[in-house]
């Protein structure tokens, strides 16, 4: 990810709906055409993490380890709330604690989004 891309993503208001469709899960099985892609979730996560930890701006990518970045306690709780609100999930901060890297967290969230019951 380049710095330009990060800057663009920062324009999104994290407090509002995600930019991809959230509800209308068409199709059958676990795949949906309208759900967010892993790329979108990853970009959103990187943007939110740099919101809490601006010092990571431009230095964070999929393989960045989450341990030791300062995302351990308070910010993990805050990010947990944002993930819940933005992607309509119910999670605990342990999901963040248990994710070694940004990519691992992305995959966990993406899997939960896929398994989300239709609204």
């Amino acid at each position: 990810m380049t710095e330009t891309e990060i800057t663009e993503i920062t324009e999104i208001d994290a407090g509002t709906e995600p930019r991809t469709g959230t509800g209308t899960q068409t199709g059958t099985g676990t795949h949906t055409d309208t759900g967010p892609t892993s790329d979108e979730i990853r970009s959103w996560l990187i943007e939110r993490i740099t919101h809490y930890l601006p010092e990571l701006s431009g230095r964070i990518g999929p393989e960045t380890e989450l341990a030791g970045q300062g995302l351990d306690s308070v910010y993990a709780v805050a990010l947990c709330g944002e993930i819940e609100d933005t992607w309509q999930l119910t999670i605990e901060p342990t999901l963040i604690w248990d994710s070694e890297t940004v990519e691992a967290l992305t995959e966990s969230v993406a899997a939960l989004v896929r398994d989300r019951p239709p609204t």
């Binding site: 809490y52 930890l53 601006p54 030791g68 306690s73 308070v74 993990a76 709780v77 805050a78 605990e92």
Partner: protein, 564 residues
Amino acid sequence: MSAGAEELDALLGDPQDDANPVGYRAVLAADEQGELPAEGEKLLDAWCLNAEFVPAEYGGRLIRADHLAEVLRTLWRRDPALGLGYGFASFLASVNVWTAGSPEQRRDTADRLLANQRIAAAFHELEHGTDFAYADCAAAPTPSGWSLTGRKEVVTNLRRAEAAVVFARTGPDAGRRGHSLFLVARDALPADRVRDLPRQGSSGMRGVQLGGVQFTDCPIPADALIGGEGRGMEIALRAFQVTRAVLPSLFVGPLDTALRTALDCATARRLYGGAVTDLPYVRSVIARAYADLLAVDAFAGVAIRGLHLAPESMAAYAPAVKYLTSRMVLDAVEDLRSVLGASGYLRQGPYAIFQKTARDLAPATFAHVSRTACLVMLLPQLPRLARRSWLAAPAADPALFDLGAQLPALDLGALVAGMARGDGVLGALAETAERGGGDPAVRFAARFRDELRTLREDCRALMPTDLTGAASSAAFDLADRYTMLLAAASVLAVWQRGARYPAELLPGVLDRLAGRLPGPALLSASEREEAERRLFDSAVERHREHRLFDLTARRVPGGGKDTL
């Protein structure tokens, strides 16, 4: 109402009876010796108070957190040192086992408690205070289990407890997966690897054994681990929602004793040519302390019912109620001291219980979790609650506010370690405000709702740097205002649900809470005078009839041997 509380009250008997082995005289004598009242401990053994902490499925009496709180409050009314040193400490430790222990650990904990043993909660290290995410005491894996090295300090009963729940570092990451909990039996530890540290002197709770211990390469069996390696923080974050919601309800006990003693003194003395209770200042202090007691009882009662009915909100309600009620009871007791004058400091004489109660209450409001630590827990939750819940989400189930009404059994698995998912207590505030009309409750509700609007805007604008312990004092002030609004909303909703609570006392109670928020007084001078007069008259009546000042108004032993 809990039959257990009435039973315990009957056993504890008349506090003023000098011949009562668990009366004030015995309680004060034990405090002077730096001990717990021996007869009190015997009585609680015989009654098996510990059974209150053991879930019914393991042979105990714990089904409802509100009943547990009512029993413990009864004990705290007589002697907070017994309440902590005999009661609360083992509850604090065991709730971690009920949250995440193995079937064997649950059985072992139940057996110990039902046999009147004690379990210490060894979390605290002086260096780190309640910020136990950085606790240093560490357990390293060995072929047969773990090896523990480090110290725990100012832990109730640590020296004499037959078992302890120990919080220890087991990995490199603070606050993440870096800590684990262990249930250890004292007699299974080699004596040469455990050194008891001298008791630290304390101003209050002097009879409580506040112990310290130094572990040095102390072996711990593998099956001592509670809930899995690295789960210490997560378990404690959930378990301590229970204890932090229950503790504020216990504060009502010592505040009742302080208020009762102040009234004993004020109704017996004459000053400036008249009864002390004729002095407007004294009447106001009594009225306000009584109002605050009722508010603490209502707020604490809602928080405790929340454990059963709104577990998804307890990550906010538990620290909020612990934070605010601590301040309120400390303030109320200090104000009451002025009614007693010099007697408020004397360690002898008819009112000596006052100074002991005040000394014991002060560390209790700090214990378990400090007020500042409570606000730090609230800060990261505020922007989210502001964004999605306040004035937008519906009111909680009305049963949340119906104190004493039926509750489903406590389900510790429903508590969440993360963030409150909603705030139905403040939802109830918005509903009351919308009712309209001129009665004082609605006027107060509208004021509180307007304050919530401001708070919502301020919290939405909070920057990430203001969500941590390093937050600005302005951010801490927002968290403080949030707790005040929660209390106000609780009081309003409790009165609305409970037709049995005297309506004429409500304006005075709300006036006190509003006084802790910015903005001009809502009551006129004459309205406030009237509100305080009604509170004072009610307090005097309850005092005369030996009824509790809390919302139950239950009759209790007192005033001579044969009053019950």
